[in-house]
Amino acid sequence: MKFGVLVFPGSNCDRDVVLVTRDLLKQPTRMVWHQETDISDLDVVVIPGGFSYGDYLRCGAISRFSPAMQATIAHAEQGKLVLGICNGFQVLTESGLLPGALVRNRDLHFICDRVSIRVERTDLSWTQTYQPKQVVTLPIAHGEGCYYADPDTLRELQAHQQILFRYCTPSGEVNAEANPNGSVENIAGICNRQGNVVGMMPHPERASDPTLGNTDGLSLFQGVLESLSVQGAMA
């Protein structure tokens, strides 16, 4: 299985993702410069964290028009896997691949912390190696991570089980106190209706290498690996 990690001017978590997929999981991985147009060799596209195009205008607003993103939209439309982390999540909402938007944190702070996240759905490639309602600890680092969706969109998200991750207390309760940034319904990550495109504010790639003391994020990448190797075996 081949991973591609998009690199925009201002991306800064691209190498961390490559370290996970290439070095820890031993999968072929290449970095995809934002001007590239052909990504047909890739099975999975990861849009990493950072400040693409300086976050000018709005986070992700300009990256969305890059050639690599146009190719990623086509990749997603073929049902192939896409993961957007942090700034990558913002790019996915700006490009319309995921609903809603990410706005300024409720308390205006840039938050850099480790938070508890509850896994809401485990029947997707991405989340299948987690237990239902499992509480994991993942790092967050963002100034604009407050997920917003209007009531109609929120109802759609719920109706199609598109909420994948919620901020929660260490014991798994989803409440206002456990909400670091003011996101509606404590939403930390969602998927599209088909389930092949996932966006999340927490950084699983920063919680994958045992050296760093937390491997709660590695399962996400392992889940994808498992599902694709099963598909490969069936093909």
Binding site: L57, E94, A101, V103, R104, L108, C146, D150
Partner: protein, 94 residues
């Protein structure tokens, strides 16, 4: 035959939708309170953009600016926009 175009200046205002929280606006409002302005109500912060376009007429210019706002300058999920359009003074935006 030469195609005659005019240069128009657009003044574009992008504001957060009323339903979206504006913590920065709230912080500024608090600042006013600290300065002693107790009579200041809800404060909202948005973006202001100035640009020029050349177009055959005002309708064409207006249509294009509207599309540019919808595509890039505003995110319709969280923002509204409006703009004023006028003929740019001669010599502007060359």
């Amino acid at each position: 035959m030469e195609i005659v175009t005019q240069t128009y200046q657009a003044k574009i205002y992008v504001t957060l939708r009323p339903s979206v929280l504006d913590p920065a606006g709230t912080a500024v409002q608090t600042g006013f309170k600290q300065l002693g302005y107790d009579n200041v109500g809800p404060t909202r912060i948005g973006n202001y953009v100035e640009l020029t376009v050349s177009a055959a007429d005002e309708a064409a210019a207006s249509q294009q600016v509207d599309r540019m706002c919808d595509q890039l300058l505003a995110n319709p999920v969280i923002e509204n926009y409006r703009f004023d359009l006028q003929l740019a003074p001669a010599g502007a935006a060359k």
